[in-house]
Symmetry: C2
Subunit: 322 residues, 2 copies
Amino acid sequence: MIEYSDVLEAYDRIKEVVNKTPVLTSSTLNRMSKSELFFKCESFQKVGAFKMRGAYNAISKLSQSQKEKGVIAHSSGNHAQAVALSAKLLGIKATIVMPNTSPQVKVNATRDTYGATVVFCENTSVARQKATDELISQYGYTFIHPYDNYDIIAGAGTATYEFLNQVNNLDMIFCPIGGGGLISGTLIAANGFNSNIEIYGAEPQLVDDAFRSLNSGRIEHNKTRNSIADGLLTDLSEKTFGIIRKYINDIINVSEFEILEAMRLLWERMKIVVEPSGACSLAAALTKRISIQNKRVGILLSGGNLDLDPIFQSLKARIEKN
Amino acid sequence: MIEYSDVLEAYDRIKEVVNKTPVLTSSTLNRMSKSELFFKCESFQKVGAFKMRGAYNAISKLSQSQKEKGVIAHSSGNHAQAVALSAKLLGIKATIVMPNTSPQVKVNATRDTYGATVVFCENTSVARQKATDELISQYGYTFIHPYDNYDIIAGAGTATYEFLNQVNNLDMIFCPIGGGGLISGTLIAANGFNSNIEIYGAEPQLVDDAFRSLNSGRIEHNKTRNSIADGLLTDLSEKTFGIIRKYINDIINVSEFEILEAMRLLWERMKIVVEPSGACSLAAALTKRISIQNKRVGILLSGGNLDLDPIFQSLKARIEKN
């Protein structure tokens, strides 16, 4: 397992490269929730998500020989772009395996903006793993797992370390749970900073593997992948589950409508673009299953990447009608 | 006409009440534009727009007797909410005349959230003026014009005063033009701060009254109200035209597609919700009609209020399908 010192070392390694993301507040949301809410906006991070912190930390730490051979990841989401950009900034070759059903905009961002080589595969986990393994055996690439990797976790934890240095005396932090990388880093960082801070995981009811894992004591699996929180569909891993079960206060499951409602508050009231996965932490804080009244509450907004076509198509239609 | 000292006095009057809005930057947009862009985010202002600054300044300055009688405004937009909230904070009665076609969400915000009395009228400028005049003659309310009012202009100018204190050595500022309140305040503030800063107005081609007024030397009128930049549809007034023609460097007209493209950059790359009117300033800066290369460029993002239903309906449909 990793320790607080790993998060501090990760922060030293990445702090000149990643954005120090702002903490926003909203008097309207404070009034509504009868608490003081502090929003750590990793949606403003490079590549639009906290994933940049872990990817840059993990790739920086590779040996010279690993760096010369290059890195590989499979993802169609924020991790792909974080690995691609981190590798680019470090002058390392990156290969990203993506399902051939990935949206063109994500392929373009990964390949053209961030300069990675994109290799397509069938949209199954078996095909993805096979394509990745073949490339590794052929070229000796180092595989960068999105969360089952202590360097990724320590990097993710720097968001919370930074947050705790920006806002004094937080009583609790709410953090989304997908594969568990961000929450694991948060648990290590917060526990090292001040072990009295309560940490709650926020997870969609439809993919409540972490909640069930915590109860059963072993890693449970999701039966569906239907949640709109498309960054939170994956199961925990050995490394993240080990940290979560040791430190977490509780996991709050939220409905799809609670996620959407929280997201709408962030967009309408705070004027920030946050993806459904990112809004889960606010949704969990607003459920009242944990009392937040009169507390100083940290909300980790993990990312802001989503398809904006519906609103821009609607505005475009208005223009064309005029 | 007003002077720099009026802006400074307005700032003293409002600074404890309005938000000191953040200035954001984007390395991606800097790279794209080959300049250093600084975004003053009045979308994060109270009520979601710079209008709060002028309304609070103007209403604060009323005499005791005016305050006791109350204020009135006609608007279905950001000015309505700014007048309502300012009056509420100052303990003054506010009446807002709104067209009976106004979206329910705007009526609710003005009435329920900000506590104003809403009076409906037919959706014509004659009906609106008649309803307002009748209420004034009956109750003695003070009319708060959205821009043809020097206290409103001085208040609007505090956004730029604050901006210039947040970012050193700006070469130029781009600012949206509707009725001209924000640009007039910006011209007074920037000229007083450092008369070398160039100020450019950003105006939709479809409602290019300010551009034509500057050329003809008299106030011109718009023939359509079709732009998606629905905060910029109004003509200039005597007071704003007087300031604009004296100080402005130039006015840049932008197409509807340029506005949409700028708005999409702000949402997708910077993860901030900015309304079409607010995005006009970035659209103007990106036209290349004024060279911004290697310059330090201020972009005033005037507000972030717009109908988000298209994107939330689309997400809701996804939830219901699952």
